[in-house]
């Protein structure tokens, strides 16, 4: 199976790899997937508490090239968005942007779940 150019680019030069302080009140962490399934994604957002804008996003992913590309792309899209705008990111937009084949759609679903997980974590800390 051949990967698209965009997947290859995100895989070779992943954007925003790293770790934010998960104990910080301004950081939300989403950890989804399971090692047994071959995919684990951790996506973190740092939110500016005054404006509610996501000012930074980081990820680490255990998985195939499509999973890594999906999470790398997600972090790029998250930066600069408000929480409400971030919640609108749909997995199918990721599929289209990366030209993922049907067997890799679950990677984009995982990325969407990770975004929602990170936001839920941030909201629960700031409720």
């Amino acid at each position: 199976m051949a990967y698209s150019e965009k997947v290859l680019d995100h895989f070779k030069n992943p954007k925003n790899v790293g770790t934010l302080d998960k104990s910080s009140k301004t950081v939300g962490t989403g950890l989804v997937g399971a090692p047994e399934c071959g995919d684990v994604m951790r996506l973190q957002i740092q939110v500016d508490s005054a404006s509610g804008i996501i000012e930074d996003a980081k990820f680490k992913t255990f998985g195939c090239g499509s999973a890594i590309a999906s999470s790398s792309l997600a972090t790029e899209w998250l930066k600069g968005k408000s929480i409400d705008q971030a919640l609108e990111i749909d997995n199918m937009t990721i599929v289209e942007e990366l030209a993922l084949p049907p067997v890799k759609i679950h990677c984009s679903v995982l990325a969407e779940d990770a975004i929602k997980g990170a936001i839920a974590d941030y909201k629960s800390k700031n409720a």
């Binding site: 989804v32 090692p35 047994e36 071959g38 255990f62």
Partner: protein, 407 residues
């Protein structure tokens, strides 16, 4: 493919055809055009003579009689013919077959078909080294058992089963012994008669011969084994396999067998050193590296290694512009399931997902292995930098205690 040097370490998927084999085959496409079954003119005679010669070359490699070699299209067909052919031929005597969970799909799916046809199949577990438990095997035999089918060497791990001991159990209980020897023939000594094997499937393209031609060894005396043909037609190959013989392919198969007979000991000695160098270097360069399956009972050119907390398909992507290897089995890597073979060895799904199979071959060089060590080490480190579970592991998090969200 580009001009840059590519490294091929997927010889268990298929081997490159040896140039000497190609040379032997070429005249049989145009210069010798006959059908080996045309008995009444020189074109047919020449083709038949070439097939007979190749059959002898293959028989010699197996220390068998040339009349015991039935040509097929490949090992998958040979496995199908052996299993279904024995079941149909001997079902009045019994309907039970015993095999292993770690067999190739060609065996497992043939067995599944036999179950649909009304037969009974026992699929035995293997231990954590990938080996059959001989006591369990003997206990599984009933008065309805007609066949035990156990592969010689596993395609994913290279683990070699105790063929002699299995042969003795089969002899003691009067059960036929079939082996899928696809990964072993031409690489190590495989003399079926010496070990009490009655049927043995193998193929040319795993031993530096061409694709599209295989064979089934069928024991001719004590006992005389018969299989019901699975293809209807002209009754070629002693009525066991109809179809015009693939003369150029068979000629290549024969040439490959002769080369293997002369060179396999030297190949095995050289490749086991290179394989050990690769394996030792990977274990030495990184933490949490595991070799899967028995190291003691293993083919000389194969190693299957798991790099914990790194996903195999992603890892392959770091070097697959330069190196060809497999993660799990090439036959199943289109699916997302981890290797059923490694799962049967007791590996957790996480380690099974982290596995890479390196299979060396006659054309593997020292430089190939040096470059592979460097690129794989770099790739694993890259993937671990990206891996959240590697980070958690390094922080001392008990990964088994984490509640993962299954999906």
């Amino acid at each position: 493919m580009s001009d840059k040097r590519l490294i091929y370490l997927d010889n268990n998927a298929t081997t490159p055809t040896d140039p000497r084999v190609v040379d032997a085959m070429l005249p049989f496409f145009h210069n010798v055009p006959g059908n080996a079954a045309s008995r009444n003119h020189p074109f047919g005679w020449a083709a038949e003579e070439a097939v007979d010669y190749a059959r002898d070359q293959i028989a010699k490699l197996l220390d068998a009689d040339s009349r015991e070699i039935i040509f097929t299209s490949g090992a998958t067909e040979s496995d199908n013919l052996a299993l279904k052919g024995v079941y149909e031929m001997y079902q009045k005597k019994g309907d039970h077959i015993i095999t292993l969970k770690t067999e190739h799909k060609a065996v497992l799916d043939s067995c599944a078909k036999i179950e649909k046809m009304g037969g009974k199949v026992t699929y035995l577990d293997v231990d954590d080294k990938g080996l059959v438990n001989l006591i369990e095997l003997e206990k599984a035999i009933t008065d309805k058992t007609i066949l035990i089918s156990i592969m010689w060497a596993n395609n994913e791990t290279g683990v070699i089963q105790p063929m002699k001991e299995i042969g003795e159990i089969c002899a003691k209980h009067g059960v036929l012994f079939m082996s899928d020897a696809t990964q072993a023939v031409g690489k190590i000594k495989t003399h079926p008669k010496e070990l009490g094997i009655h049927l043995m499937a193998f193929t040319a393209h795993k031993m530096y011969g061409p694709k599209g031609v295989g064979a089934l060894f069928v024991n001719r005396k004590n006992p005389r084994v018969k299989v019901t043909a699975q293809l209807d037609g002209g009754g070629h190959e002693r009525g066991m396999r109809s179809g015009t013989l693939n003369v150029p392919g068979i000629v290549g198969f024969g040439a490959a067998a002769e080369i293997a007979r002369n060179e396999m000991d030297a190949d095995a000695a050289r490749l086991s050193k290179l394989r050990d160098k690769l394996e030792t270097a990977l274990h030495g360069a990184m933490e949490e590296v595991y070799t899967n399956g028995s190291k003691e009972h293993r083919m000389p050119h194969v190693c299957n290694v798991s790099f914990k907390h790194v996903e195999g398909e992603g890892l392959m992507m770091t070097f697959n512009q330069e190196i060809g290897v497999s993660s799990g089995s090439a036959c199943t890597s289109a699916s997302l399931e981890p290797s059923y073979v490694l799962v049967a060895y007791g590996l957790g799904d996480d380690l099974a997902h982290s596995s890479i199979r390196f299979s060396l071959g006659r054309f593997t060089t020292d430089a190939d292995i040096d470059d592979t060590i460097e690129m794989v080490t770099k790739g694993v480190n890259h993937m671990r930098d990206l891996s959240p579970i590697w980070e958690m592991y390094k922080e001392g998090v008990d990964l088994d205690a984490v509640v993962w969200s299954e999906h």
